[in-house]
Amino acid sequence: MELCGVMLTPDSIAYCVSREQLVDPRRISDQVHAEVKMSENQNAESPGHGAESRRGFMEYASLLIGAIVSLAPLALGLCPFLDPLFGKRKTPSSRQQKGGDAKEGYLRVASLNALTLGAAPQRFPVIADQRDAWNYIPDQPIGAVFVQRTDTGGVRVFNATCPHAGCSVACDGHIFHCPCHNSSFELDGSKRVSHSGRENPSPRDLDKLQVDQDKLEENEEVWVEFVNFYTGKEYQKRKL
């Protein structure tokens, strides 16, 4: 058995758990007496190494069983504890049928009419079914996006979460700025250096989201693939 990188054998344990250190000396003398007696008895019946090996077995066995019973409760908790790493929950069957021809993973955030050409980006909540552990809650705001219709008629959508440390950015019509650590971004989402030249702590631009061009042209609706990304990295890495 290995514990903390040290091979444990009955002998090494006997060494580590030196009796003189742990046990009352008077008891030791009793114990020594008893052992001497035992070995005398055993000597009468069988050769000495048999007693040695039996004691060795008993020590092994009690350590093993002791380890099992003390680790078992921890082991029981381990799988449930790690569940968030694997946990994929089923969608309730009543909510599995998504209506229409929506692309997988895309959500409707706005109608094109709600956006003025060339106006400042507008903040929209992203509405979807939300699962929170034991709750399944239909049509909840699960995030927020900024949508802007550019002068050229295109639509730009950014996740409202700051790529620096995950706060929610705001827009004053001229720039995006984050209230936590002063990240700021141009309206096209690119990292911005302020007028005073103050550095921008964000490692990357605002996270641009994919817009479904078919829906945009045919239905005049803004459908977005809503994704959250890990913060603090120079590149986008999806949170799953």
Partner: protein, 656 residues
Amino acid sequence: MNALISNLGNWLDNRTGHRQLLSEALYENVPGGSRWIYVTGSMLVFAFVVQVITGIFLWMYYSPSSQNAWESVYYIQNELQGGWLLRGVHHYMAQAMIVLLPLHLLQVVLCKAYVAPREINYWLGLVLMLIVLGLGLTGYLLPWDQKGYWATKVATELMSLPPGGGYLQKLVVGGSEYGHLTLTRFFALHAGVLPGLLVLVLGLHIAMFRKHGITAHSSERRPDEYFWPAQVLKDSVACLVLLMIVVAVVCWRGAELGPPAEPTESYGAARPEWYFLFLFQLLKKCEVVGASEFVGAIVVPTLVMIFLFALPLVAKVRFGHVVNVMVILAIMMSAGYLTYEAIDHDNFAARHRNDEPSDPEKRLLWQERIVDSERFHEAQQQAHHEYERVQELVDFFGIPREGASVGLVRNDPEIQGPRIFRRTCASCHSYLDPDGAGIPGPEPPEDWDGRTPYGAPNLYGFASRAWIAGLLDPARIESTDYFGATAHGMRDEEGAFKSEGMVEFVHENLDPSEDDVKAMAITLSAEASLISQRDADAVAKSDGTLDAGREAMIDTYSCTDCHRFHQDDDPEMAPDLTGYGSAKWLYDFIANPARFYGDNNDRMPAFAQHPDEPARNLLSEHDMKMLVRWLRGDDHDLSLKLRAQVSAQSASTAEP
């Protein structure tokens, strides 16, 4: 009697040996005698015991889930007998621990109590410090208010920085997003794992302290003393003073609780608890030297911790102790300075508004700091107002089962109205009270010639008497508060109105000082049935003002030549004045202004054009109702709302 007690004592001692234990505990020799500087350790133990006891009582009322956490803390804070004091002591005693920890550390280092053979005990002390910081971090989230939510969110986001951190983050948060499991996990850490570990390590820490004894040496001038009673008295006095300070702070300031967490709303006042502000500021500092946040959030704090752990080893080299003392003082002073700077930057506008630097480059930075701190204070103010509003809502409705955030905040026009307005309406309309406070609309373009529309009316107090009076005032209807920024108010190069309509009519025909114009304003405003004008409207009805106003509208000024007003055969060239500004009228108007303006509609989109296909509308029915009720001020004063409801009920029961 004494004999009986002594016999009882003997009986117990034979069975438990308590006398020896007690005398070992109390009659420990203190070389050089008792001293005030030794109290920090005992104070920390005392503070921890207070935390355990108050924590267990709080536990009896706290419920860790995203629907119940804030709600149960609100209950503790506002409804439970003495709950504010219990929570307050727990809140501030935690902060006292954070203040005492560095003092204790400093004392240990200055007294050279960290070198051989006490290294292990010193390391145990550092582990204890980390556990206490962990307790502070986990405890901050539990109330699930905006402040704790966003501050902790940043902390857990930073966890994903080192390699494999994504998994760590998921394990701590209980998934990739915050929710029930974040609270249950943080609560298990805060009330189970961390205190359990702390008890274990503290036990070892004290046992080892007892093994090695106090570092000081006895001298002739200062004779030895026993721990009991001289040092115990000093310790207890210090603990009493600590308790008194904490209780006083609770009575003075109370433990703060913010509005309930709203994961999708931007929160501009997100800050960690003050004792983590130095880390927060360090993260901002990194931007100055161009280091990545990985350096600020992980590398620097780790290096500092490694140095702290290495202190006993450094002490072995020559002058090592001196170096240790200097570096520790430097670290503490830096942390103190960073904390000060973080607070200073957040209050920059208030403290440095008059210190405008002459150097243009510095001035730019100064301006940016002013703006940042103003935003911070505005967000803090807003959070404060929201909390007060939620308090009103709880008093009025109670907290529903789905929780305060979903059940109250999301359905409150006073909170949601301004948000929807900013999002959807403020690109054209403003909402500014006479003092100029509120939601600004668009600014006129830089090269504005006064002949192109760029905005829309100020909707503060829409349909109230004051608002309508302004509408009927030639001096004001042409201002940007009304139609001055719309197509209705535009003049051509010769100064004539481009469109024949209301603005021109008011200009040519109305004098706001005349009684019948005033009566008209009152009559039209009464159409809205505003709750805030109920009494005034009733008076106007009984004293004949409404009749006079109606007469003026129909006969004197012939409003019904263009507008419909209670008659089916009236024309529909201009907006319907029947029920003008009432909840239904306003809803229908926002839903589809073309129904009211026809071809004269100036740029206003139809926000709910498709009643049968809600998905195609710009605003949901819920948002529309929030907006309408907020613009009308229906929920502004809940006691007025209650009165209106009660009288409506009694009217309906009286009718049959």
